[in-house]
């Protein structure tokens, strides 16, 4: 059953106002910017964003006023430093106040892992003694029933929807992701619904030729969106390198509210679709980002 649809349909159906959205889960690469920009264009409100280190996708959604709550380990601009929209929202409630559930990369991963295992929580020692546990209403300090030592219980976290950018998917949502995966796997398993953004739509046979590389069960996938370059400016191993200057420009231009609004209009609001975004980027820039040297994985035989 084909789940192929446009990003506009996917967001309209599976990212309602008020939903919790796990996105930007592979840390710096494979960030589903195409999905985020469509969420902004559809003016979604009161979202909860869930993620580890999140890079500028979170910053953009916050600046655009889509977000009520952030459940994450880090919000900023990885190669540049601060995220100004995040700062304005937390310091001055511009464009609105947001609430923060503090996490570390490990605890947010464990929260999603617990959900994927049907376990109510996973205990860890990480972040004990820090101020993080007291600034996250879900986390719980307890003593181990085994030996009485302090433990942090990280309760299972179930996003309403997880959005992942992958290299290739078939139309049912059987997909291959490779390179750096961060917490994409845990977030897919933990979610109620999954939206995949894919560089390529391929035949079922391509995916099933290598079932170990499949990201997760396609029965969780509700929408498959074909978005070549949908993760720009982040990297997609084997397809696209990271567009570092784009992050720098974003950093410089978003220091003020007006600057951000200007950037948002130019790169999101005035571009009805990803195709328009690509046109604006221009072939020369795309060419610079394309893979220069292919490095293929050694052959693997599933025969019998």
């Amino acid at each position: 059953m084909s789940k192929l649809m446009t990003m506009s349909e996917a967001v309209a159906r599976y990212v309602p106002n008020g939903s919790s959205v796990a996105i930007s889960l592979a840390l710096e690469p494979l960030i589903p910017f195409a999905a985020a920009h469509e969420i902004i264009r559809q003016q979604r409100r009161n979202l909860t964003l869930i993620g580890p280190i999140s890079d500028i996708l979170f910053d953009q959604l916050i600046g655009a006023g889509c977000v009520e709550r952030v459940t994450a380990a880090w919000v900023g601009n990885v190669s540049e430093g601060l995220g100004y929209c995040y700062q304005r929202a937390t310091e001055k409630a511009i464009p609105r106040a947001i609430s923060i559930e503090e996490h570390s990369n490990f605890t947010i991963g464990l929260a999603l892992l617990a959900a994927s295992l049907g376990s109510p929580y996973i205990p860890t020692r990480s972040t004990l003694g820090s101020d993080i546990p007291s600034h996250n209403t879900a986390l719980r300090l307890e003593r181990s029933p085994l030996d009485g030592t302090p433990l942090l219980l990280v309760p299972a976290l179930r996003p309403d929807v997880t959005i992942v950018h992958v290299q290739r998917s078939d139309e049912d949502g059987n997909a291959h992701l490779w390179g750096n995966s961060g917490i994409c796997g845990e977030a897919m398993l933990a979610a109620k619904d999954v939206i995949l953004e894919a560089e390529e739509i391929v035949d079922r046979e391509v995916i099933l030729s290598d079932p170990n590389r499949v990201l997760g069960p396609s029965f969780k996938v509700r929408a498959v969106v074909h978005e070549r370059w949908g993760a720009h400016p982040s990297a997609v191993q084997g397809y696209t390198n990271r567009d570092h200057p784009f992050y720098h420009e974003y950093h410089e231009r978003t220091r003020s509210v007006e600057g951000f609004q200007d950037w948002l209009e130019e790169w999101v609001l005035h571009l009805p679709s990803r195709a328009d975004y690509m046109k604006k980027l221009g072939e020369e820039r795309l060419q610079r980002l394309r893979v220069k040297e292919h490095r293929y994985a050694a052959a693997v035989d599933y025969g019998y």
Partner: protein, 259 residues
């Protein structure tokens, strides 16, 4: 021999790495330190990245982020974040590097918020993996710019636990970590633009080990928010060797992180 403060910090950081160690590598200066150690005194050290990457050779190109494609190509293992930090939680990481916006005399670090967390004067990005590295690595090395606003008597928010604070239940230091549930670990070095500190695990205090060439203990004190404690054998930091500088400049030819 001319060198930048960043180059000296890279050298000091590299000296923290012992051969064969598993190092949780951050970006920027620690990443260069890993490359430097690898090519000098620690050829068998391994680098772990919280993105989910294990390498025994630095990437072939300068990285802007740990998830950049060259950092995955040729990795020993590319997996998920939970497994990689899990290795550290299980005790398999000897040394971790982090930076911070603020640190205090007990090695507690803040990368979350200046002022009140509810209504911060300055909101910072947060932990990322820093709190995990500070909690779970066997030794922690911290790299920071040295000024009085950053080296404070007490940080506004403990993002990454160092040696805590003295209190009614006991002293700061290794005992504090034990009390809160972090047995072992803790900061072993603070490398700044002016000096290198060690830590006294008995009471958790930073101890000045060396001041960098061109500065003085007095200047370090003036730019530090607590009264310095000096190591008995404190000295001037050994400057980078020609060989060390050569390696650093090969790794960062444009000086993106070191100029």
């Amino acid at each position: 021999m001319d060198y930048t403060p960043q180059e000296l910090m890279v050298v000091c950081a590299a000296r923290q790495i012992q051969d064969g160690e598993h190092v949780f590598v951050g970006m920027r200066l620690p990443l260069l330190a890993f490359a430097l150690a690898k090519r000098t005194h620690a050829p068998r050290c391994l680098g772990l990245f919280e993105a989910g990457i294990l390498r025994d050779e630095p990437a072939a190109e300068l990285l802007y982020t740990m998830g950049d494609a060259p950092n995955i190509t040729g990795a020993l293992w590319a997996t998920g974040t939970v497994k990689m930090i899990g290795l550290m939680a299980a005790g398999d990481v000897q040394l971790g590097f982090i930076g911070g916006a603020e640190i205090d005399r007990y090695g507690n670090l803040n990368t979350t918020a200046i002022g009140n967390w509810q209504k911060p004067a300055v909101r910072l990005p947060g932990s990322g993996g820093a709190a995990d590295i500070a909690s779970l690595s066997q030794r922690l090395a911290i790299i920071m710019q040295h000024d009085r606003r950053r080296l404070r008597e007490k940080v506004d928010y403990v993002t990454s636990p160092g040696y805590g604070y003295p209190g009614e239940e006991g002293p700061a230091g290794a005992a504090w970590r034990e009390r809160v549930g972090l047995p072992g670990g803790g900061p072993s070095a603070l490398i700044t633009t002016l000096a290198v500190f060690g830590f006294d695990r008995e009471n958790g205090e930073a101890v000045l080990q060396s001041f960098h060439p061109g500065t003085t203990v007095e200047e370090v004190q003036a730019k530090t928010g607590w009264t310095l404690r000096l190591a008995d054998d404190y000295t001037e930091t050994v400057p980078p060797s020609a060989e060390e500088l050569k390696v650093i400049r090969e790794c960062d030819p444009q000086g993106k992180w070191t100029r």
